[in-house]
Symmetry: C4
Subunit: 247 residues, 4 copies
């Protein structure tokens, strides 16, 4: 399952244990919040080396620990595999980090209420101020358009590049019949977006079920909200973290 | 973020610690019941000074403690900020306390099943005896009507006054694409209303999904229920409190 | 709030503490299963005196204990009130015990998915073998037909008699804009029915949302299921009880 | 309730305690995940004797322990009953093990979101890569077609054979107004399928509620996914198991 050729990439250097702890917490928080099932994953870009990223070995997010975190280059080759099983879909992370220098954290989930939007013609759109980062119709990546009939997994650079292209300059991309990806400048932002993308999906579905025309956020409102400099990601993060500590 | 000018307002005086404990419990109860996410807040009017109110510093309701409670005047200036971060939207509280002398407790939430009613033309209406306090079509405040394109936050007195005007003499007001506010003569009543507004939203959505004409509460029934003098808010409060104590 | 006149009724005699424990467990189980909110109640007929029943004082079911159980006659007068607050709606219990000698346990709940069926013209009907006790269209009591405009509470014998009449020989009756009542020959059967009435309401709502004609249970199927002598109420009861013991 | 005639069948021999522990874990996991209520069951084929299977005595899955596991022959006669109450519907297991030599584990559940598909003309179909094992329209067994009016239970070999015939070479079969059965080559696969059949039912219902044409998985996609040799059932299993250990 290791795709590397020749010698393994060099490490980007040691990482502050507090940074690793936040990455582990991100995994556990998203599992606790029902966004991640046993098969999702969360990565961060190496804080000291833009060409490396950090991601758990193949393990359910709810139960990973600091020692499970591995380092990869952007072609998704492990720096030091030590025989550990790797996520097949790590190319999601490598290819988005290549395409988006502003992105430092990535969540791939099967967030349950979001998937239905990936298989219909109804668009997921921002309906509440807490999910203004969705901005407009959320783009939807159908791997069938990229590589025909597949097992739907992002198994290689081609798939990852296709996904990154559909994401474009946005912060969320759906994956048809599969899940979604949320990105952020830091792990708190990416986690926030993964949670509130699920929340938005629920709110929109319920509003549509009530019926009547729906007033989505206006583009100007989204711009004013996402342009805020006083958004306090730390506020819910502290709460989410306290929940996993209590488990 | 502190809007005060000149010297800070004077304190309304010391507050019974049991009153503060109830305010802290209200925050934790509403988080436990799924009404408050990381961004809502609960306040009470100062029991000894009608021109002051008590509200946590900027922190997720699930994890606040007695020492987080701050005091504000009705212009939402802090009595003694001590460098603490404040809720941007504290003007919700100040302006409603100004407009409604009968109100002594306020909950602002992003109660998940209520938001959809704020973005459609379908009205939230009382459907069950436990939510007769809704009385009729619940009013809906669209900040766009008050101040055009904004980030949807109640950031100042103008926004707060607009919201208070839409609330009028009611006990609940929706906020388009944002959430809602519930008020009460005391903290138990406000908490009760916040929880049963969410319950009513679920019941109404499910009844509408079943189809057929819906028999809402008649205005006379609402009046008879809200006019009861034997309503026992203490009964569920004790249960809600025992849940957070067990956490 | 005590409606009794003259001297209080005599006690039906001491009750086996294990019977009281089961009644307390029934309250806690139904709260844990989300059937009872802070305002429902569960009673049993006095095992040694058909003219008496046992019911908690006015307290949220989730937190009642053995010492909260009070004894009433079938006119719902307390044997020994000791100044305790009583459920206003205890007439539900007294009047049904009068009308139905086969009934030895009663649950009154605001079971959340059941209420919507009480306010539409869509009938709750048995859709799954576990809820065959519903038998046919579940009857719906509208207190407006019994006593015009009220606060919807079963406040007296007249209301209770009207409700018992609508229940008839069935095991479940809806209460418009309010909740429902489930009865049984013993407390396990009544608890089972309260839980699976809620389950049936969810299954039916989901089947209706999917669309297409629905195949409900045939009357013969209901009769064969309710006629079983090997139904094992003890099986889920042991599980439900283990959950509350773990809390 | 014991249908055996003559002397009881001989045992297939002792079983590794770790295998029994996995069977017990499967029961507890599926209860924790909301797939099994108090009335479902999980079996495995005897690892050393293809003509025997292992199944708990009649007990709620959430609370079974290793000592509750009994051994049966494929006619569903107990090897050593010891007076224990047996699941009436054990014929589900015996008859499927007879018909399907490739099957070594079976889950029978009342998985809540799956039942609605059993009573409408809408077909449950694979909508997400995690449930590609559904392959196509999931078959639906109506016991009325097999044996007319019954209590809907799989009470004998005739019912079990009918169910096995409808299952055919598939991995999931619905049971009208009752529940479903999921099978697998091992207990992890059967548990995985039981959980993701419920997940698929939710995703499909939500997609249908959004409206618009739905893009289900193509048959080629299902074949590519189910043909994978690197599917990691161990990954979510470890997480599910850690949850029940923490209870």
């Amino acid at each position: 399952m290791n795709d590397q050729t020749g010698s393994p990439p060099r490490s980007g250097g040691p990482v502050d244990p507090a940074v690793i702890d936040d990455l582990v917490a991100a995994n556990c928080i998203l599992a606790d919040q029902g966004v991640l099932d046993g098969y999702g994953h969360v990565s961060i870009r190496h804080p000291g080396a833009a060409g490396r990223y950090l991601l758990s070995r193949s393990k359910a997010p709810a139960i990973i620990a600091a020692e499970d975190i591995m380092e990869y280059d952007l072609d998704s080759n492990p720096v030091d595999q030590q025989g550990r099983l790797m996520y097949i879909e790590r190319y999601i992370h490598g290819e988005i980090y290549k395409a988006r220098p502003d992105v430092n954290a990535i969540v791939h989930s099967h967030s349950p209420t979001v998937i239905p939007y990936s298989v219909t013609t109804v668009k997921l759109r921002p309906i509440c101020h807490t999910s203004a980062f969705l901005k407009h119709d959320v783009p939807n990546f159908d791997i069938r358009d990229c590589d025909g009939m597949t097992d739907l997994l992002i198994r290689n650079e081609k798939h990852g590049r296709g996904l990154a292209r559909t994401l474009g300059e946005d912060d969320v991309v759906l994956m048809r019949g599969h899940g979604n990806v949320c990105v952020g400048a830091n792990v708190m932002a990416a986690v926030y977006r993964a949670i509130y993308t699920e929340v938005n999906a629920r709110l929109q579905a319920q509003a549509m079920a009530l019926g009547g025309p729906i007033k989505f956020l206006a583009p100007e409102e989204c711009a004013l909200i996402t342009g805020r400099t006083d958004t306090n990601f730390q506020r819910p993060w502290a709460m989410w973290k306290s929940r996993i500590a209590a488990n």
